[in-house]
Symmetry: C2
Subunit: 412 residues, 2 copies
């Protein structure tokens, strides 16, 4: 593969995570290394992903090269420092004017390396751009770099951002269980965790079992049908054991007819005439209250779980940096239309290898929680699941605080 | 004051906080010191507060004396390790059989020191017990030790537990603002913070301003009337400045007629026939969506904010230990029917003194956020508020993690 000299551009896309900026830092670090042997000249950052780039919005990031303090602060900052978007590119074989506009900009800036950090929709962007660049003979290496708290990307053992969200969930669930345990009267608390299609994040609610912590009595996943009679039977058994029952549910749990549990079917409207969206936790808590008459509470972890960088997993942040710099290495070595993925070599000691995979194998596909990770009663996790989860949550980070207040990175 | 020799008992009462176990540790440490000169023999712990004690439930805690590892783990464990209750004692001048039962138990165990860690309702318990013991001539020193995330106790500069909840809120709000900032389209996020009667915790949402962090565009407190037209005008101005507007509201904000904003007035019932309790964040988000048509989201921090020991304030935990041991010291020196309070000596350098106050001055009373802490537009905090808040949130703790999972204390 001939050496391709030129500049690089990096963008962030899709929903925020605690680790997506760590990957951005990894890409900047990788470009800096490639600059040392003259392959990459400078590195630009798209503002608000491909959407901003189409509108000519970008900044020069090379001022951060070897600024260890700023890179480290960036790695300990949640969300997407460059901004994000949810724009889907049109068919690269069609006649959209979006691609010529982008190629014109690439030529102007001499962009030969394109890095796009995102989930499966963003991998679709990378795949299409690669197709178009090849179609028109513009020599450019396009790399997708995975991220998503949902952990639902195919081809990779796990996704950057998942371990940190999992650590936040395991920590918070442990704290909520301690909170629930203080009164000696029957009460059921339902915690709703992200995951519209898959139960990866919800499985982390049970991770404490590996070190003997109390965990939720019941955990329900979108991969299994949610049935109210089964719930009542499960809760009855749990309440017979102790008064403070805690349940973790995925936001995406569904009834047998395929409808979401969290979707209100009562037709109730609020005081402003809007249809209520109850959320799975509130609906499950309400059902339990109606059945058992005990006190119930629904807790929605909401977006807090995806941006809680202050309790990030050190393993996740380190890997998220590394996958960014590996993407640059692979591109410099000739890869395009690819993404870098984690291949787990062993659980204990935990070891991953970085490999490349065709970006089209990730785009628009979903990886579900395997059956072997869900217990036979379909209301908890297995030893196999714990073995998978634990290494991803290992290690604590050192966020920066000033006068007790957390500090985040911002571009100058 | 003559030396009173005998045993001690300690209990926890009311809602959990991140620091109430630190105070328990402080009481145990104080009793251990008093045991060295022979004043206190042993220290017992009530299971589930006065409610458990009435039913004869207690444990001997002296096995923990000088077990630094266990005391430190206890200090870094949220909620109430001994369990809690919400039992209100009857009139101590009446003829309830509760008091004679308690005195009988005190005599059996030779209890001469009674420590009750709790909020204003729990101070009522301490006050009544003190009255009854004096009435029947049982020589016992009764001390209340304050705690509450709400920070609404009179006589004290602040309450143990508040600084940690405030630090969690300031951190989480900063992270949510980063999360909200990624997209370049108008959206309003409403974060609901605890505080049914007072805006202390909600004020912490603005604490980041002291170090130049972005803070919520608007903050609303229960101390001020919440008005929809004022909200619309405030939001319109905020949206004119940037697309991602973040609002912090106290759960206790009220309309001019005194009704809670979070109380659903539509009469809507859920699929199980129950009246919906929307919560202030959802109602405010819904109102903004109806008015501006933009994307909105309501986030309820819920009980997570009061039990998030993993991001506790070091200042709060240290003070919470110290106030427990100071309570023992004061009791040994003759105080009864009292509580220990913080008196702030200065903001910078921050310094507090520990003093005693009559427990009846705290019981059943509420301290509101002063007007000087709320801005003229009644939608944000002032410099005075920042000066008050910052020292309480200073310093980071070192929670114990095992394989990446947080570990908590449990009694053996």
């Amino acid at each position: 593969m001939p050496v391709l000299k030129g500049n690089a551009i990096v963008g962030q896309s899709g929903g925020p995570t605690a680790a997506i900026n760590a990957t951005l830092s990894g890409v900047i670090r990788g470009c800096c290394d490639a600059a040392k042997n003259g392959t990459i000249g400078t590195v630009y950052g798209m503002k608000n992903g491909i959407d901003g780039l189409i509108n000519g919005k970008y900044i020069d990031l090379s001022y951060m090269w070897e600024d260890e303090d700023q890179l480290s602060l960036l790695e300990n900052t949640p969300a997407a420092a460059l901004g994000s978007c949810r724009r889907k590119l049109p068919d690269p074989n069609g006649d959209s004017d979006v691609y010529p506009k982008l190629i014109e900009l690439f030529k102007k800036l001499d962009i030969r390396y394109f890095f796009y950090i995102g989930g499966n929709d963003s991998m679709d962007t990378a795949a299409k751009l690669d197709v178009y660049a090849k179609r028109v003979g513009y020599d450019m290496r396009v790399m997708g770099v995975p991220k998503t708290v949902d952990n639902d990307l195919c081809e990779t053992d796990h996704t950057p951002g998942f371990g940190s969200a999992a650590k936040y969930i395991a920590t918070t669930v442990t704290e909520v269980i301690a909170d629930c345990a203080v009164y000696d009267i029957p009460a059921v608390t339902v915690i709703e965790i992200m995951g519209r299609d898959t139960g990866w994040l919800t499985s982390a609610a049970g991770a404490g079992a590996a070190v003997g912590n109390p965990i939720p009595d019941l955990i329900y996943f979108p991969e299994k049908v949610f049935d109210l009679e089964k719930l009542y039977s499960d809760v009855e058994k749990a309440l017979a054991k102790h008064p403070n029952v805690v349940i973790a549910v995925s936001e995406g749990i569904r009834f047998a007819d395929g409808s979401f549990v969290g979707e209100d079917k009562s037709g109730a409207v609020d005081v402003f005439g809007h249809k209520q969206l109850s959320g799975a936790a509130k609906v499950v808590a309400s059902a339990i209250k109606a059945k058992f008459g005990c006190k119930t509470r629904g807790i929605e972890l909401n977006t807090v779980q995806r941006c809680a960088n202050h309790i990030a997993s050190l393993t996740d942040l380190k890997e998220s940096v590394k996958i960014g710099s590996e993407a640059v290495k692979s591109a410099v070595n000739g890869a395009s239309g690819c993404t870098v993925v984690y291949k787990r070599v062993s659980d204990e000691p935990y070891e991953v290898r970085y490999e490349t995979a065709d970006v089209r194998l990730i785009a628009n596909r979903v990886k579900y929680l395997p059956d072997s990770f869900i217990n036979a009663d379909e209301n908890g996790i297995t030893e196999d699941c714990l073995k998978y989860l634990l290494p991803l949550m290992a290690g604590e980070t050192s966020p920066t605080y000033e006068r007790g207040i957390i500090k985040h990175f911002t571009f100058r």
